[in-house]
């Protein structure tokens, strides 16, 4: 009996190519995903780089060398856009992280009803971004939005205030909406990280008489540092690339006040059909984002090591 089972098994083994070397098997497994990415992302990326050296529109293409880049270098407007994009990213990411940390701490508190609160935080993350933006479009309206309405009732403004019609307020309104979209995810990741912190650490500190604030500062924060690190990079990339929110709220206006690099690229390439100039902008985005990520990772690797060494 045993013998026949053994031989059967061996036969099966041979059929299934058990002897497949590990590296060949691994490449068979990642191959399809690699190929897909190559066609849908890598090739278009290469194409974008090629187009960035062209004067290209609906009519055709003509090689112009670095002219598109030279134009960008000289353009004061483009410099302003870069500065604005980083300001947008810095502001929005900081707010997401701070709100996320506060939110997660609150939802982590052992109070009745917290299971419900956790669910209530999620909707902005789950629904299509475009739909959330329609809601905000309504809120920001001067005549029938609740924000302007409340301000009028309280006597802060005399007449209707159109949040999206003024340069400053449009920019900060877009930031608020972006924060609104991004905060739930950050909150949930922080919350889960907080729940992963071993309880005995808190108990030991509690026995030693450490205050809540002290435990938060000296246990919670260092313990969840790796998640804070990865979330801040992830949020930074999302925010840098955030397109739909700005496009639906303001289309980059008024007078370019909310035009970030990604919106500028879209406007140039898709709205105005200047494919070459648009591609040059896209390449600048890739370079900026790539450099930023590398510096960030390098810097935060150190932070991680620092906190990691204290842990074990």
């Amino acid at each position: 009996m045993v013998d026949t089972a053994q031989t059967q098994l061996e036969a099966v083994q041979q059929q299934r190519g058990r002897a497949l070397p590990e590296s060949v098997f691994a490449w068979l497994l990642i191959g399809p995903a690699m190929l897909f990415i190559a066609v849908i992302v890598a090739w278009p990326l290469a194409e974008t780089i090629r187009l960035s050296f062209m004067e290209a529109d609906l009519g055709g293409e003509q090689y112009v060398g670095l002219a598109n880049y030279a134009d960008l270098m000289d353009s004061r407007k483009f410099h302003q856009t870069i500065v604005r994009t980083f300001y947008w990213m810095f502001l929005s990411v900081s707010l997401k992280l701070i709100l996320g940390l506060i939110g997660a701490t609150l939802l982590n508190a052992a109070v009745p009803g917290r299971a419900l609160f956790r669910v209530l935080v999620m909707p902005p993350w789950i629904i299509p971004i475009a739909i959330g933006c329609i809601g905000w479009l309504w809120l920001y309206n001067g005549y029938f939005g609740v924000l302007s309405g409340t301000m009028m009732q309280l006597g802060i403004t005399d007449g209707p205030f159109e949040f999206l019609a003024h340069k400053q307020s449009a920019f900060y309104s877009a930031v608020v909406t972006d924060v609104w979209v991004g905060t739930p995810m950050v909150t949930l990741f922080f919350l889960a990280a907080m729940q992963g912190v071993p309880r005995d650490l808190y108990e030991a500190a509690y026995v030693d008489g450490a205050s809540r604030w002290y435990r938060f500062r000296r246990i919670t924060i260092p313990q969840i540092m790796p998640v804070i690190v990865s979330m801040s990079l992830l949020s930074a990339i999302f925010t840098f690339n955030s397109f739909e929110i700005i496009w639906i709220l303001t289309e980059g206006g008024p007078r370019s006040a909310t035009t970030t690099l990604i919106v500028d690229t879209y406007k140039t390439a898709i709205s105005n059909f200047k494919f070459g100039e648009g591609s040059a902008r896209a390449v600048v985005i890739v370079i900026l984002l790539g450099t930023f990520s590398l510096i960030y990772l390098f810097f935060l690797n150190k932070v991680n090591k620092h906190y990691g060494s204290g842990k074990k």
């Binding site: 897909f36 990415i37 052992a110 109070v111 609740v146 302007s148």
Partner: protein, 280 residues
């Protein structure tokens, strides 16, 4: 005792939670209020918080104003579902390879996958448009599915990999010693154990696919019947007037199915997503 709060602290915590939730839920509340107001009343100025002619009329009228609304809602779910299914087909084997196997260029290729995370479709729209045109996919469901899959594969690999790493190796080794092939081990030993992780990653991919349909839809698809909800909603902005109240009603009803599904799955999601994130 450590978790006990004084009365004052409790009040403070609830107060802060309330403010936080008001920020999160205010747009939904306002959308709901707007959906209840008759159109001619909507633009009444000065702003009124409460009015006595609230009605659910918009929830009936919206199906007439935009006859394809039901189709849009289903399209959204269909596209996100297809994206999720396809993404998982690509992600499962790849994530397994990165979690378990040693092979040349492992770190480099993983880095490339993660690098894709840095782009959004918006950067690559022009050439992507040409690729899709060459493949004859423009103005089909595929024009919205294919880019979605490509941009979600990296996230999927990243999340699932950390999940698979947690499954004890011994089980696979035992199967291998017993003579199972590599493929057999993956299919019959690893995957059944990874079901909770697969659900989590699947839900996360679905959310990503569902939330970000707008851009691909407005750029790659001109077929009205194929549009997903976020694009279809803009049909309420007509030539004559904007039926805001119906648009809000449609938006709320449109996301309801996914919200309900999500309610059932949220427990797994929070536990699982974080299991992946905490490690790295």
């Amino acid at each position: 005792m450590m978790d006990r709060y004084s009365k004052l602290q409790m009040v403070g915590i609830y107060f802060a939670i309330t403010i936080f939730l008001i920020f999160i839920l205010l747009p939904f509340f306002e959308m709901f209020m707007a959906s209840l107001r008759p159109l001619e009343h909507l633009f009444r100025s000065p702003y009124q918080f409460w009015s006595d002619d609230f009605s659910f009329q918009a929830y009936r009228d919206m199906w007439v104003t935009v006859p394809l609304l039901g189709r849009y809602i289903l399209n959204s779910i269909f596209i996100a579902g297809m994206v999720t299914g396809l993404t998982m087909i690509f992600v499962i084997p790849a994530a397994y390879a990165y979690a378990r196997l040693e092979f040349p260029f492992k770190n480099l290729t993983l880095g490339i996958f993660l690098g894709v995370n840095m782009f959004t479709g918006a950067v690559l729209l022009i050439p992507l448009y040409r690729v899709l045109r060459t493949m004859g996919l423009l103005n089909t469901y595929w024009s919205m599915i294919v880019p979605g899959v490509a941009f979600l594969i990296p996230t999927g690999i990243w999340l699932l990999r950390s999940y698979l790493e947690k499954i004890p190796r011994e089980l696979e080794e035992a199967a291998f010693v017993d003579g199972a092939s590599r493929m057999y081990t993956l299919r019959r030993v690893v995957l059944p154990l990874a079901v909770p992780g697969l659900i989590v990653v699947g839900v996360a991919v679905f959310i990503g696919a569902y939330a970000q349909q707008f851009l691909f839809a407005i750029t790659f698809n001109q077929q009205r019947e194929l549009q997903p909800l976020p694009a279809g909603l803009f049909e309420f902005i007509g030539y004559q007037d904007v039926t805001w109240n119906q648009m809000m009603a449609a938006a709320l009803v449109g996301v309801l199915p996914v919200m309900i599904i999500f309610l059932f799955l949220q427990k797994y999601l929070v536990a699982g997503l974080t299991a992946g994130a905490v490690k790295e």
